[in-house]
């Protein structure tokens, strides 16, 4: 198992350096003069211009610039935001829990309902229910989620008034961030009703963000389950006199999960991309909204290293999924 993990870790290193190269190139590819673009002014005072070039390290040869960039990254220095003068790393840390909470809630929603729908569709193959589940999931897969968010807001918030429209919690509550997860922090706080309020804020964004992963997981679970149910070992399990539930869930689903898990891992990328849209619609104070605002404000250090951080996050999650994959699938684990 350790050699398995070590092998996968080894694969990460070139990918990581590739990503640093990409984010490094990002700023250098801005058409025109970078300082002018960042300051948003046409004619910058030559002295200030030189200073800015110096400060950004743009006046050195490219390889040296890259080396400087890597050295700084190794020291944990991700630069500071041009707008707030805060360190990028610190801003990321304060905002990340919000995105993580949203993403986890969305994954939970997608995972539970996607698996359930997929299994049911597979068991009732060819029935009206199966067609219904597949039709809905293809619709979900085709969903422009920014519009879906607006529709849900229009229906549940504007017409019915059930859920709030934006932010993570109503402004009347003052919650001290302990873990950064609003659902947990509200439990710690003394404030009455804060947990419910936070939950109501979370539901709609989580549904919106979870819609596409839900559709993908349902489709994948169905096809994987159909394949597994044809296997000989399912017949063996039935010949043992096991209950249908045990045959389907213990013997079937366990094996059907293996490809689904890979898809689950791939969905994390989709999820973080979707977070940009979802957070924008629901004014959710997470890293997606942060990045979009930084782009609007030409806050390039935030754009550059925010993207770097998100990319690292995606590789990390895929790495974890790889490991999990090995845990679920003994055949992979024992490969050489």
């Amino acid at each position: 198992m350790f050699s398995f993990i070590a092998r996968r870790l080894g694969l990460l290193i070139p990918t990581f350096f590739g990503i640093t190269l990409l984010t490094f190139a990002l700023i250098r590819l801005i058409p025109g003069d970078p300082v002018e673009v960042m300051m948003g002014e046409r004619r910058v005072d030559p002295e200030m211009h030189a200073q800015a070039m110096e400060r950004l390290g743009l006046n050195k040869p490219l390889p040296v610039q890259y080396l400087d960039y890597i050295t700084k990254l190794a020291q944990g220095d991700l630069g500071e935001s041009l707008r707030t003068r805060e360190s990028v790393w610190k801003e990321f840390l304060t905002l990340f829990p919000a995105t993580l909470e949203l993403a986890l809630a969305a994954l939970l929603f997608a995972g539970v309902f996607g698996l359930l729908a997929g299994v049911i569709a597979a068991l009732k193959r060819g029935s009206l229910l199966d067609h219904g589940v597949m039709g809905i999931s293809l619709t979900g897969y085709s969903m422009p989620i920014f519009w879906w968010g607006l529709i849900l807001i229009m229906f549940f918030s504007v017409s019915l008034g059930w859920t709030p429209v934006s932010e993570r919690i109503s402004s009347l509550y003052d919650i001290e961030p302990i873990t950064g997860f609003m659902l947990i922090d509200t439990l710690f706080s003394e404030e009455e009703g804060a947990f419910k309020d936070a939950l109501m804020h979370l539901i709609l964004p989580a549904i919106v963000l979870g819609t596409i992963p839900l559709a993908v997981i349902a489709r994948m679970t169905r096809s994987s389950m159909l394949e597994v149910l044809r296997e000989d070992y399912i017949r063996t399990a039935r010949a043992k006199g096991l209950s249908p539930g045990r045959v389907v869930f213990v013997h079937g689903l366990r094996n059907a999960l293996i490809p689904v898990l890979t898809v689950f891992g791939l969905q994390v990328g989709t999820l973080l991309g979707g977070a940009v849209l979802t957070e924008t619609i629901f004014s959710w104070p997470g890293i997606g909204k942060w990045l979009i605002e930084a782009i609007g404000a030409r806050d390039y250090p935030v754009v550059q290293n925010g993207i770097l951080l998100i990319a690292c996050l995606v590789i990390l999650v895929n790495f974890v999924v790889d490991i999990l994959y090995g845990l679920v699938n003994p055949r992979i684990r024992h490969q050489r």
């Binding site: 058409p31 969903m143 422009p144 920014f146 607006l150 994948m220 096809s223 990328g269 991309g273 998100i310």
Partner: protein, 310 residues
Amino acid sequence: MTDPITKSASAMPPSAVDQSLLYPSPYSEFWQAFARNKGAFAGLLFMCLIVFCALFAPWVAPHTPSEQYRDFLLTPPVWLEGGTWQFILGTDELGRDLLSRLIHGSRLSLLIGLSSVVMSLIPGVLLGLLAGFFPRLLGPSIMRLMDVMLALPSLLLAVAIVAILGPGLINTVIAIAIVSLPSYVRLTRAAVMGELNRDYVTAARLAGASLPRLMFITVLPNCMAPLIVQATLSFSSAILDAAALGFLGLGVQPPTPEWGTMLASARDYIERAWWVVSLPGLTILLSVLAINLMGDGLRDALDPKLKNAA
């Protein structure tokens, strides 16, 4: 030539007719398999409608998309109270006819989808072929590069690219093309690797076929099925991503009637005028759904082996 065959065939009992004689041509076989799939057929019909609208937008649309009827701000659709036949789907906050804007918007969506597919398909297939044919050094380095691109969520990468290049139609196309590049490369490489071990490739090699001939004439045609399906799917995600960029204000800029951009400006009227929010989104959803349905049908018809996969 045909006579003796038909004679001998008719002499046999019906169940014993040589199947190869009745076998339909690849195209009609494909079409039969595709048309049997009701969803795919419906998707095709809807796409034909969209393409028609896009091609003949100036004649189909009842109004000019940018003309502002100041007396008709936020007019509801015709079936609601206050609606008029003049504006069938109502008007937006500036009094522009929604239907006309949607019809003209289809031009942009199709244009973006089509050009980004072409712009990523061609280099993607080339890179994939190279990666498949040179598995020692070039292949792995290409694949590593693609891994890097895949590590970034596609929408985020597109956002980053537009953030650098600046918003606009052409940059949207470029961003989307770059984002969908890795899947073509991976798919082509996987297909090429599978084909390279086949005997027909060895035979062509021994016959002295040059490398380009091997690549494009011998191997590539046998890798087309998954590529066609992928092209369809990335066409639909291109439409989605373009609309998302428009919605974030990074895509096609107003007043151009792009579906996503229309949604962005409609957000503020969510409480007063549901139609300016619902209809553009519904159009996006239906178009993307139609293309995905076609993609499913294509996959089933082109590659029966994949029928139950994904």
